[in-house]
C-alpha cells in the first residue's frame, strides 16, 4: 500500500453537510449522498445522485447527476435491491421517502410513522422487497415499498437506535445498535409479545422491548454504527463514542431462543481520537474494515489473524467530521468518504 496515490476525486456541495453515502447495487459508478443544510441543525435536506467514473492513471472523477430537495435534513439512504432507479431516504422529521431517479423534484412515496429522527435505512439483500428503518424513538420498522404503512414495528431499544442492518446471510435476522451501548441481534420470526395494534407510532418507553436473540454489551457508551462481515456469518463490527472499532464473533447464538447475552470480542482497533460515526466491512475481503470518525479522518484496518489487527491507512484531507464511508460494491478497493465539510472524497486506500 506504499505506492503513490492519485489525489481523491472530490465532489463539493457547498452549504450542505453530508450524513451518509450509498453505492448503487446496480450501477458500478453511481452513488447517492444524503445531506443536510446548516449541519443538520435546521433547514433543508438534499439527496445527491453522483457518478464516480474512472479516469486515466487510476484517477477517478465525480459528477453530480441530479439532486432532490427535502424539507428536513437527510441522515441516511438505501438503494432498492429490486429496482435500479429507486432509493429511500431517512429524514430528521421522522419521515421516510422513496425516490425514482428517473423523475425530478418529488418522491414517489412518503411515510410518516417514526416520531423522532430516522437515523438509518437498510434494504434487505435477501428479501429484496423489504427495507428497515431505525429511529431515535427506539423503534425499528420494516417496510414494503408498495404498502402505505409499515409491516412490522419492533421496540428494539429504549433509546435511540442509530442503525438497523439485515444480515447478509439469514433472511430474517437483523442487528441494531443504540445509545444504550448494546448491539442486538433479532430473529424477525420470533415475536416475544404482541405487536402494537396497527403497528403505529409509539414513544411509550414503558412498552416492553421486543426480545432479542442476542444482546451484546458492546460498549459503556453509545454505539453509533455496526456492520455484518460479508464472508463470516455472525461476525459483526461495532464502533461508537468509545473511539474503538470492535469485532464480535457471535457464532454461539442459538436462533429461535431469545434473551441470550454475549458475543466474543475478538479484536479491538484503537487509534481514532474521537467517536467513530460509521464502520463498514469490505464487500470484497473478509478482513478489511473502514471507519469514519469525528476526528476528521477515515481509516482502513485489517483484522487478518496472521498479521494481527493493524491500521493500514489514514485518509485525512477532510476539514470537518467524517460522518460516513462506503466501499464501492463492484470496484474492489475503492472507498468513498463524506463529511460535514460538504466534500465527498473517492480514493483507493
Amino acid at each position: 500500500m506504499a505506492r503513490t496515490r492519485p489525489p481523491p476525486a472530490v465532489l463539493h456541495t457547498p452549504g450542505f453537510a453530508h450524513y451518509a453515502l450509498s453505492w448503487s447495487p446496480f450501477h458500478t459508478t453511481r452513488l447517492a449522498l444524503a445531506s443536510s443544510a446548516n449541519f443538520g441543525l435546521v433547514g433543508n435536506g438534499r439527496l445527491h445522485i453522483v457518478s464516480v467514473n474512472p479516469g486515466p492513471n487510476g484517477t477517478h472523477h465525480t459528477a453530480l447527476d441530479k439532486y432532490y430537495e427535502t424539507q428536513d435534513g437527510l441522515f441516511d439512504i438505501a438503494w432498492s435491491e429490486i429496482h435500479e432507479n429507486q432509493l429511500v431516504t431517512a429524514s430528521g422529521d421522522g419521515s421516510i421517502r422513496l425516490w425514482d431517479v428517473m423523475l425530478n423534484d418529488l418522491p414517489i412515496r412518503a411515510w410518516q410513522e417514526h416520531t423522532r429522527e430516522v437515523f438509518s435505512v437498510d434494504w434487505s439483500n435477501i428479501k429484496k422487497d423489504t427495507f428497515a428503518s431505525s429511529s431515535w424513538d427506539g423503534l425499528v420498522k420494516l417496510w414494503l415499498p408498495e404498502r402505505p404503512r409499515s409491516v412490522l414495528t419492533m421496540q428494539a431499544h429504549h433509546s435511540c437506535v442509530y442503525q438497523a442492518l439485515f444480515s447478509p446471510y439469514q433472511p430474517d435476522v437483523l442487528a441494531t445498535c443504540s445509545t444504550d451501548g448494546t448491539v442486538r441481534i433479532f430473529d424477525l420470526r420470533v415475536k416475544s409479545f404482541a405487536p402494537h395494534p396497527g403497528g403505529g407510532t409509539n414513544t411509550n418507553f414503558a412498552t416492553p422491548l421486543n426480545a432479542a436473540s442476542l444482546t451484546i454489551p458492546a460498549s459503556n457508551t453509545e454505539v453509533l454504527s455496526i456492520d455484518w462481515n460479508k464472508y463470516r456469518p455472525f461476525v459483526l463490527a461495532s464502533a461508537g463514542v468509545d473511539k474503538m472499532a470492535k469485532v464480535w464473533d457471535c457464532r454461539m447464538i442459538k436462533m429461535g431462543e431469545v434473551g441470550q447475552v454475549g458475543g466474543q470480542c475478538e479484536t479491538q482497533l484503537l487509534g481514532h481520537e474521537y467517536a467513530i460515526r460509521k464502520i463498514q466491512w469490505s464487500p470484497h475481503r473478509p478482513d478489511l474494515l473502514a471507519t469514519a470518525s469525528y476526528d476528521m479522518t477515515c481509516r482502513v484496518w485489517t483484522t487478518a489473524p496472521n498479521i494481527g489487527p493493524q491500521l493500514l491507512y489514514i485518509h485525512d484531507p477532510h476539514t470537518e467530521f467524517v460522518v460516513a464511508c462506503g466501499w464501492s460494491l463492484y470496484e474492489d478497493g475503492l472507498l468513498a468518504s463524506c463529511s460535514w465539510d460538504g466534500r465527498l472524497n473517492v480514493f483507493r486506500p
Binding site: 457547498p14 418529488l106 460479508k230
Partner: protein, 180 residues
C-alpha cells in the same frame, strides 16, 4: 466561491455571456467534457433529457468556474426560454482525451445567487438559532410536501450478485456455523 461574484464584469449579462460562450472551441472545456463522457457519465439508459440536463450542468459549472460567475441552471433555463430558443445544441462527442481534469467538482447551488450567498459556520448558525433569527438561516425554505404525479420508471435491470455472493457460489456455500 463567495468572492467570485466580485470579479464579475457588471456590464455584461452573464446569461447572455453563457449562451454565446465558445464551448465548441474551448480546448480546456472540450478535454474535460471528453474525459467525463469517456468515463461513462451518461449510462446507456440515460434519456435524451437527462443527457441534455447533464451537459447543461457541465457547461454551467465550467462557465462559472472559468468566468467567475455564479449562474444557476434554473436561470439559464428561464433565459433560454425567454429567448425562445431551440434546445441547447448537444456538444459533439470528441474522442476521449487523457488531458488533465480538475478532480474537484463543485456543485453550483441555487442559494449562491440568492441573498443567502454566504455559507455560515456551525457557530454562526448556532448563534442565529439561539437568537431566534431563523429567517436569516440559509437553505431553510418550504419544500412542497407532495408526491410525484408522474409514473415511476420501470425496472429493466436484473438484480446483480454482490461480490460475496459470487465468491460463495464459486467456492460452495460459506459454512453455516449457526443453525438457522
Amino acid at each position: 466561491m463567495s468572492s467570485s461574484s466580485e470579479s464579475r464584469p457588471a456590464t455584461i449579462n452573464p446569461l447572455e455571456q453563457f449562451t454565446t460562450y465558445p464551448f465548441d472551441t474551448d480546448q480546456t472545456y472540450q478535454q474535460g467534457l471528453a474525459s467525463i463522457l469517456a468515463g461513462n457519465a451518461l449510462s446507456d439508459n440515460s434519456s435524451l433529457d437527462e443527457r441534455d440536463e447533464l451537459l447543461r450542468r457541465i457547461k454551467i459549472f465550467y462557465f462559472n468556474k472559468t468566468t467567475g460567475n455564479s449562474i444557476t441552471i434554473d436561470e439559464v433555463k428561464a433565459y433560454e426560454q425567454s429567448l425562445n430558443q431551440q434546445d441547447l445544441e448537444l456538444e459533439s462527442l470528441s474522442p476521449p482525451s487523457t488531458g488533465p481534469v480538475d478532480t474537484t467538482t463543485t456543485v453550483p447551488t441555487p442559494s449562491q445567487t440568492n441573498e443567502d450567498t454566504k455559507i455560515l459556520s456551525f457557530a454562526e448558525i448556532k448563534e442565529l438559532i439561539e437568537a431566534g433569527r431563523l429567517d436569516e438561516i440559509p437553505n431553510n425554505k418550504i419544500i412542497p410536501d407532495s408526491l410525484n404525479d408522474e409514473t415511476p420508471s420501470a425496472s429493466l435491470v436484473p438484480a446483480r450478485k454482490k461480490p460475496w455472493e459470487i465468491v460463495s457460489e464459486n467456492q460452495g456455500a460459506i459454512p453455516q456455523d449457526v443453525e438457522v
